[in-house]
Amino acid sequence: MAGRPRRLRRKTYYAMRMKRAVQLLFYKRHREPGAKGWELRRRLGSDYMKVLDLLNDYLDKLGLTVKTVFEEEANPPENPSLEQLDKARFYVTLKGSEGSQETKLIGWRIDDLAGLAVTLSFIISKGGKTPRKDLETLLRTKLPGWRVDLNLHRYLRAGYIVEDENGQLYLGWRTRAEVDQKKLVDLLLEAEP
């Protein structure tokens, strides 16, 4: 009989930790959404990965998932160390690709989203960086010039891409969090007009 209250206490403990994790991951507190591993460890305790696993199970039913983006993006560790987890950033993202096209546009115009897809695929195919001019030339084949400028500004502001002082464009934090880069390029190559 003594086991039951202990189990209940543990359940309450993790329920409280999950609530706190939701606040940390959903609400934007800094420039970037989500939270760093060390932040979660400090706020949720050393077993924060267990809390995130429980939260992930719960979010799964809602079509959401906790996404971990490691610093070593090109080569994410299979069994990450505590230090690698501390430095990683955790986000909540949409899980699957199901849903109608309208719901998946989530407020974007189809032109703008296509521009984003072209931008990201082009940079990925060029090894992670490309001169802005080359990308603009490609985008202008299907979008008016004024919209190209406007869109690139939007992608930059949202964190999908970053630009250096030499006019080179790179993938930004949001692309790393939201886009399955390999899948995108593979699907693109397989696609038929």
Partner: protein, 271 residues
């Protein structure tokens, strides 16, 4: 011999061309293997004996540096091609040009998992913001410039200036001079004395005071420190005449004057 006769101007133009070529390959993200590194190196080698001016040598070094950047790019290119993410950029570009917008979006949606983030205000943050607002002073109060207090001009005393640190007190100057004379007479034939033997006094307070004054002797160019780090010994060497500030010891050297150190020194002296 033909190389030596080639005008330097031609050589410099060649080097500039190499630099520009390498830079354009780098900035435009072109295939770095388009660059024949061996050929470029042989051109640099060919002209190298002609360079005499530092400017020419700098240009030569810059050309070499840009070739080194290309070699680095070649290494990255191979690594990328070997990675699982590599897909031929020309094929990708071709697809992007040929596919209709709707199809591109459809593909993208399968690989896109937007971050869920809330920016809504909560009751708690609204309460905190209201509290802040209520406590916030109006702009005209916050931006009001501090008025400078007007002061009447008047006479001041020497003591006041000494107190404010604008003038050195006579006592201080004369104390410094006395200490300098004492230092000059205390040194041995080698013209120096151990630091602790000089600043050490019967009481700890006096020792601190002497150390303080001694630091001014060194700063003002009346004496110099000689530090032997391995033997952990410090000596003071007085100058017979004050040297200029520029020639005085140009660095700071902290010497802790702790009570324990002073006690050890005194016990050593008495023992």
């Amino acid at each position: 011999m033909a190389t030596a006769k080639k005008p330097r101007r031609l050589g410099k133009e060649e080097l500039r061309r190499i630099i520009e070529f390498c830079q354009s390959v780098e900035s435009r993200g072109l295939n770095p293997f388009l660059v024949e590194v061996d050929d470029l190196i042989s051109v640099i080698k060919e002209y190298y004996p002609n360079w005499e001016d530092p400017d020419d040598l700098c240009l030569d070094a810059e050309a070499l540096n840009s070739i080194a950047s290309i070699i680095k790019l070649q290494s990255e290119w191979i690594k990328r091609r070997a990675s699982s993410l590599y897909r031929d950029p020309f094929l990708v570009e071709e697809k992007l040009r040929s596919l209709p917008i709707e199809k591109i979006v459809e593909v993208f949606q399968k690989a896109w998992h937007p971050v869920v983030e809330f920016e809504q205000i909560t009751i708690g943050s609204l309460g905190a913001a209201m509290k802040y607002w209520n406590a916030l002073a109006p702009l005209d109060e916050r931006w009001r410039e501090d008025e400078l207090a007007l002061a009447e001009t008047g006479a001041t005393t020497r003591e006041e200036l000494v107190k404010q640190g604008l003038l050195l007190s006579e006592t201080f100057s004369s104390e410094l001079e006395d200490l300098w004379n004492e230092l000059k007479s205390a040194v041995g034939k080698d013209g120096k004395i151990s630091y602790w033997d000089f600043v050490g006094a019967d009481t700890y307070e006096d020792t601190v005071k002497r150390a303080y004054l001694t630091s001014f002797l060194i700063t003002y160019g009346y004496a110099a420190l000689e530090v032997h780090p391995l033997e952990e010994k410090i000596f003071i060497l007085p100058y017979q005449k004050q040297i200029s500030k520029e020639d005085a010891q140009p660095f700071s050297f902290p010497i802790p004057i702790s009570f324990e150190e002073w006690k050890r020194w005194r016990e050593g002296r008495e023992g």
